[in-house]
């Protein structure tokens, strides 16, 4: 039942899309509460204005001087407390844009009215975004994620609070396990790059640190907490070993990956070794393309990447200034110790050592141990392969999700690079191909604009307050920007196309391990017990 929590006040303009509410001293209204005002029109129709509280202010009425508060607390001057709340309208039903009238009662919207206010009633397929401050679920419209009306998610937030990738995996978990994919769930895939630490290498292990009370939060979202059921993890091969061993830390049961020199030449992967932002500004990229073409025509019979490099240098591309050739060679040589071990004459087991994102529901590619240059190479190659695979199927569904953190490195605002091309392609055409990018970065202001602009869902974790002032966050009203500076881990602000106001949501603690310690089969006793 909707309860009256105040009345539209008349000391400030009440407008069709935003108005102020006076709240009696005894009532509690908090930020993010959903409210409803019904206005009866003369012709018998009733307009319902739904909105969300985004500013709250309390004042002393009757006080004129700042020091009057002391007189009030001494019991000398009578003062009255009043709270006013600003409401931003999210929905007007029917669409008759009239202001609410001062004096109209304001109701706290619950149940179906809350769903109406947040457009949940109109979402045919919805996936969980988290829980609102009132503990009720917040849904996202799948149509804006699966490509039918929009696609992609972009997550910004400072690093170190483990919010971005955790939220990305939470979104995936919700999409995969809420049953909304139906029969397609088994064929829907996700490709996750583990770029930092070993956070994402334990998705298939239950999280021993999951607080028991968070089971209820999952239940509220229609989910059963647990690890990702079908995960395949790849790690780069160790350098300096003939035998292929995965180069990992705490997780050993993973498949090592590498590419054969034959594939490298045939598929024209050379360009992904030249991905520095300035590489495209000079002639080097042209040299690389020329060499690529040569290699594609005739792959030399060599056993190591080093030999391949020597072969390329021995047969220089013609028609370029000696300086350009020298720069190209210098960079190519520099790639040997960084990337060389990933490109080999042969691999032990092509089935096992080749990344195939369709082999499991979730594929995690660990690149955190690699040098930056090698990271770019792996991401560029894998994404291109995936994109091409998807293009070949010619159908949007089943969907393929890509989770990529540190997007600022791979799709920076300035400059061009082959990886940026792939990511941009994904952002712009991925929607029709069913490739959904869940990208994350510390600062959206450093990302290629079109990547961000093509994301239907914009998620903001804790932000540096100076960063929050950038234009990229214009979708956040001023109060939300201020709140982005104090968000706790486990809270994000989500903006989606249908809801005109970004919503603050909490998401439950991950039910899958996000650190080696959380993946322990049994809880170890505390080695540092307190006396």
């Amino acid at each position: 039942m909707n309860r009256e929590i105040g009345r539209v006040l008349g000391t400030a303009d009440a407008q069709p899309l935003n108005f102020w509410v006076a709240v009696p001293a005894g009532e509690i209204l908090q930020l993010d509460d959903i409210v409803l005002v019904n206005r009866d029109l003369r012709d018998g129709r009733t307009v319902s204005l739904y909105g969300i509280v985004d500013i709250l202010a309390a004042r002393h009425e009757g006080a004129r001087l700042d020091s009057d508060v002391f007189l009030g607390s001494e019991g000398v001057l009578p003062l009255q407390q009043v709270v006013k709340a600003h409401v931003t309208v999210t929905r007007v039903e029917p669409e008759i844009f009239v202001p609410p009238m001062p004096g109209d009662p304001v109701l706290l919207a619950t149940g179906p009215d809350r769903d109406q206010a947040l457009f949940f009633d109109a979402m045919k397929k919805r996936f969980p975004l988290g829980l609102a401050r009132d503990g009720e679920p917040v849904h996202g419209n799948l149509e804006f994620l699966d490509g039918s009306r929009g696609a992609h998610v972009n997550i910004s937030g400072i690093s170190g609070v483990a919010t971005k990738t955790t939220y990305a995996t939470f979104l995936l978990y919700g999409i995969f396990n809420s049953g909304l994919l139906g029969g397609e769930a088994a064929n829907t895939h996700a490709l996750i790059f583990n770029v930092k630490g070993e956070d994402l290498l334990f998705l298939d292990k239950p999280n021993t640190a999951l607080p028991p009370d968070h089971h209820a939060l999952y239940a509220k979202l229609g989910l059963t907490p647990g690890p990702f059921p079908d995960v395949k993890i790849y790690a780069p091969v160790k350098a300096g070993h003939d035998h292929m061993l995965p180069d990992t830390g705490k997780r050993s049961d993973v498949a090592p990956f590498a590419w054969t020199i034959a594939e490298f030449c045939k598929q024209r992967y050379l360009r992904y070794l030249f991905t520095e932002a300035d590489d495209e500004s000079n002639q080097i990229s042209f040299v690389a393309e020329r060499v690529e073409a040569m290699l594609a025509q005739y792959a030399p019979n060599v056993d190591t990447f080093e030999e391949l490099v020597e072969h390329i240098i021995a047969n220089p591309a013609q028609g370029y200034a000696p300086g350009t050739i020298a720069a190209f060679e210098r960079r190519l040589r520099a790639a040997v110790p960084r990337v060389g071990h990933l490109i080999r004459g042969k691999v032990d087991d092509p089935e096992r050592n080749t990344i195939d994102w369709r082999r499991a529901q979730v594929t995690v590619i660990d690149i955190h141990n690699l040098h930056d240059r090698a990271k770019r190479f792996v991401i560029g190659v894998v994404l291109r392969r995936m994109f091409e695979d998807k293009e070949k199927t010619g159908s949007r569904k089943p969907l393929a999700f890509v989770v990529l953190d540190e997007l600022n490195k791979y799709a920076p605002r300035e400059g061009r690079s082959p990886i940026k091309e792939v990511i941009l392609d994904m952002a712009e055409r991925g929607r029709s191909l069913g490739v959904i990018l869940i990208g994350a970065e510390q600062t959206a202001s450093q990302i290629e604009r079109r990547v961000v602009a093509n994301s239907s869902f914009r998620v903001v974790g804790r932000l540096d307050l100076a960063e929050a002032q950038n234009n990229e966050y214009a979708f956040l009203p001023a109060p939300s920007r201020a709140r982005a500076g104090i968000l706790k881990p486990g809270s994000v602000i989500v903006s989606q196309p249908e809801i005109p106001v970004p919503l603050l949501v909490n998401f439950p603690f991950p039910a899958w391990a996000t650190r080696p310690e959380e993946a322990l089969a049994e809880k170890k006793s505390n080695p540092f017990p307190r006396k």
Binding site: G62, L65, L77, P78
Partner: protein
């Protein structure tokens, strides 16, 4: 001759309005409390107390013809209420609001206006005084009555009720303290009145009895706040009155209580131009009552609209 400042702004009547002509000799007994005429030092007290006040406003003056004669009248609003100060809180009590159409020559008729779809009624009230000042005095007296009704009710439950101005006289209850902001006449002989100038904050003169055929009362001067060096020495002094029927003992304890309590409620000149005499709760109450009376422009418009609709010549 050294000049001193009268601290109230010039748009208000002076708080020190002692005119030589009005200094008619009063019959005053200055020895009712003490045979020794000297200031009584401040004491400490923090008892629950109430401040009663009223405000009035003329919304519009009206005129009518009756039997070939001019009838004066006014549409007025009055409010009366109180502030209850206790346990370090000060709260507004119920505020009484009334609107009247007061007409001279004993005429009475109702008058209604409409604001925002809600009817507002002015109650008919007839008076024999047929002049602009006469009908205004009637409004003032209606306000005094409303104030004294509230003071009377409070006095039955509260033992410390301050009433602004002279309204307490109409209450019939005597354990009500009237606070008179402006000093209009000295009452005392000059050599006794000189003591008022020397009072320090919280000090008071001994009680004196004002012998008056209509209303016997005790009174004393007390100092709310020390004047600045360039203020007139009487600045910040007020006079209180207590009905003589309570007896000298009760009157003495009420006067002592008032001297202890009132300086705490004195306003400062940053907040109120009529500081310190316009007490903080009273100032706030007046502001609140004016707010409850409604917007004067809106009322004036509604009155004009209503008059325009009235048929007849």
């Amino acid at each position: 001759m050294r000049l001193r400042l009268d601290p109230w702004p010039a748009e208000f009547d002076s708080p020190l309005a002692i005119e030589e002509a009005s200094s008619i000799p009063r019959q005053v007994d200055a020895a009712v409390e003490s045979s020794h005429w000297a200031s009584i030092p401040p004491t400490h007290a923090n008892a629950p107390c109430c401040f009663v006040d009223g405000v009035r406003r003329v919304e519009a003056r009206v005129l009518a013809g009756h039997d070939g004669a001019l009838v004066h009248g006014l549409l007025g609003t009055l409010a009366a209420g109180y502030v209850h100060a206790h346990d370090n809180t000060a709260q507004f009590g119920e505020i009484h609001l009334a609107r009247y159409l007061i007409l001279g020559k004993g005429q009475a008729q109702p008058f209604d206006i409409d604001i925002g779809g809600r009817p507002i009624a002015f109650h008919p009230y007839a008076t024999g005084h047929n002049s602009p000042d006469g009908v205004l005095a009637e409004l003032q007296s209606l306000m005094r009555t409303a104030e004294s009704r509230i003071a009377e009710q409070l006095a039955s439950t509260q033992h410390c009720v301050f009433v602004d101005g002279l309204s307490y006289r109409a209450t019939g209850r005597f354990d009500v303290i009237g606070v008179i902001k402006r000093i209009l006449e000295p009452y005392l002989a000059p050599e006794q009145f000189a003591l008022v100038e020397t009072l320090r904050k919280g000090e008071r003169t001994p009680l004196f009895r004002i012998v008056d055929a209509t209303y016997e009362r005790y009174s004393c001067f007390l100092r709310l706040a020390d004047p600045r060096p360039f203020d007139h020495p009487l600045a910040g002094a007020v006079r209180i009155e207590i009905g003589a029927a309570v007896g000298i003992e009760r009157a003495t304890s009420l006067a002592t209580l008032a001297a202890a309590m009132l300086p705490r409620f004195a306003s400062s000149s940053t907040r109120d131009p009529r500081a310190p005499q316009n007490l903080l709760p009273v100032g706030a109450l007046e502001q609140e009552m004016r707010r409850r009376m409604g917007d004067p422009t809106l009322l004036r418009r509604a009155i004009e609209k209503s008059l325009a609709r009235t048929p007849g010549v």
